[in-house]
Amino acid sequence: MSETPVDAEDVEHVAELARVDLDDEEVDAFTAQFAEILEYFEALDEVPEVESEADLVNVMRPDEIRESLSQEDALRNAAETEDGYFKGPRVS
């Protein structure tokens, strides 16, 4: 028995958080699959706490001005631009 039953509402809520629209068919399919997959993930409850040591070190360099993409190159893949800026939809 799963401790985290997932219903269609949960899937729609997560989809909203992730900014992905879903059609009704996808919501149904994902609801069934997520229940199965999340139940499988529950085996992680058996994992003991394990101390992990940081494996990587920070790599620093002097903060110097270097060459970068031109504004034109940076905008090249945008669907719409205006006066050298990305043009997007309203924020709210």
Binding site: V20, F41, A43, L44, V50, S52, R76, N77, P89
Partner: protein
């Protein structure tokens, strides 16, 4: 019939001379090529043209190779069969009714079919080794930090490395020689003196100067191609028994035969058990999906990506663009990753997955006290038929049981052909200690003897 190994066929000439002069290289379509579209197998990036080259592409061109195209792949690297590409599935050249494996399926198929001499793939949970095994070629997943990830479109940063695919071990190792090394543009390439088998690097790189010493990178004084000398005499190979239980009998039979052959050449085998691997697949998917949910947030249809139009507010336009641009597996992973990181579930899934990851690392460290390299079948199954496995995502995730522990532990591993069963290739995986690429290349070259 075409195998559909390439999404974009385009000749990009390299320099006149160099160690790869005259070689044709296929590049997975999630590795940026200046001026040549890079789709990641996604409709979202159908018209995306990177304004710069990935570091590995720079290096391959400087080594004299000619790039012959951008290889087909599972969308954003998410899949194990190269069937989730928005540009259609790739066929396995060994038997066209079967999948080539994934997610670097186009890269492996191009090499297996002779459409390229060498290929670059990326391996997040086995995506170089899996298609290498299914197509009967060689694939190497390097130690995390050996190869620059600059210009690789990110799926799960903490797990993925770019790796070489070739028809034999020596050629794959030679390509690794070209692409490995420090890169000031990727802070995850190593500058901290971790040599072969050096598990203790916590005392180096403690100040900025030491951290930037390019001579401290493990690839600086290595020669991976030269390590392919076939000399396995005296090597202790640890056989990971936990990963044999669930495997197809026909795969295990080929695996055992390859081990017999290595023993006949003077290798010793010991059995090793890794308790943690039972939880590796769950930990892998929780971590990978969580990182993916964050990484793929950039595809909004404004800066790049398919535009959802400009009606409504940003969130609506963004969500519409992503509904249209992303395929089913990508949506599934973004949503599951968002769920695993959401309030109330973070400790249950993500934190536990990190514990499991640390456990897997510790288990591998213990195993390397007893063995020089570890061996498993690369894939527990033979290549599925095209279309056979798409409907059940959980079954597909389970196929990654033997490869994902290596990514969780940031270790190197190679898949080398170990013969065929029912006319389909079987791969043998050899796993090395951190920066132990030469050890796995050497042992793998003995499998070819």
């Amino acid at each position: 019939m075409s195998l559909n190994a390439f999404i974009t066929e385009e000749t990009i000439a390299g320099d006149d001379d160099g160690p790869l002069a005259g070689k044709r290289v296929a590049v997975k379509d999630n590795i940026s090529t200046e001026g040549v579209r890079t789709t990641c197998g996604s409709a979202m990036l159908e018209s995306y043209v990177p304004p710069y080259d990935a570091t590995v592409v720079d290096r391959v061109k400087a080594a004299g190779a000619t790039i012959v195209g951008k290889a087909n792949m599972d969308e954003f690297g998410m899949g194990g069969t190269t069937e989730t590409s928005a540009y259609g599935a790739t066929k396995n050249p060994v038997d066209e009714g079967h999948v080539p494996g994934g997610s670097s399926g186009g890269s492996a198929a191009a090499v297996a079919a002779g459409e390229a001499d060498l290929a670059l793939g990326s391996d997040t949970g086995g995506s170089v080794r899996n298609p290498a095994a299914f197509c009967g070629v060689v694939g190497i997943k390097p130690t995390y930090g050996l190869v620059s990830r600059y210009g690789l479109v990110a799926y799960a940063n903490s797990l993925e490395q770019i790796g070489p695919i070739a028809g034999n071990v020596e050629d794959a190792a030679a390509l690794l020689d070209v692409i490995s090394g420090p890169d000031p543009r990727d802070s995850t390439t190593r500058f901290d003196g971790g040599g072969e088998g050096n598990g203790n690097d916590a005392d180096t790189g403690s100040d900025a100067d030491a951290g930037n010493d390019v001579n401290a990178h493990p690839a600086t004084d290595s020669n991976y191609a030269a390590a392919a000398d076939g000399d396995v005499d005296g090597t202790t190979i640890g056989v990971v028994t936990d990963l044999l239980d669930g495997a197809d009998d026909r795969v295990v039979e080929r695996f055992e035969a390859a081990l017999d052959d290595l023993r006949a050449q003077g290798a010793e085998t010991v059995e090793v058990s890794l308790d943690s691997v039972e939880h590796a697949v769950q930990a892998y998917y929780v971590i990978a999906m969580s990182e993916a949910s964050s990484n793929l947030a950039r595809f909004d249809g404004v800066r790049y990506g398919k535009s959802g139009g400009y009606e409504g507010n940003w969130n609506d336009a963004f969500a519409r663009a992503r509904e249209e641009g992303f395929g089913e597996e990508v949506k599934r992973r973004i949503l599951l990753g968002t769920f695993a990181l959401s309030a109330g579930y973070h400790d249950k899934y993500y934190k536990k997955a990190q514990d499991a990851r640390a456990w897997v690392k510790r288990d591998f460290d213990d195993a390397f006290e007893r063995a020089d390299v570890l061996a498993t079948p690369t894939m527990p199954v033979l290549p599925p038929k095209l279309g056979e496995s798409l409907d059940d995502p959980l079954q597909l995730y389970l196929m990654d049981a033997n490869t994902v522990p290596v990514n969780l532990a940031n270790l190197p591993a190679i898949s080398v052909p170990a013969g065929e069963a029912d006319g389909l290739p079987v791969g043998l995986q050899l796993i090395g200690p951190k920066f132990g690429e030469e050890a796995i290349v050497r042992a793998a070259s003995a499998v070819e003897n």
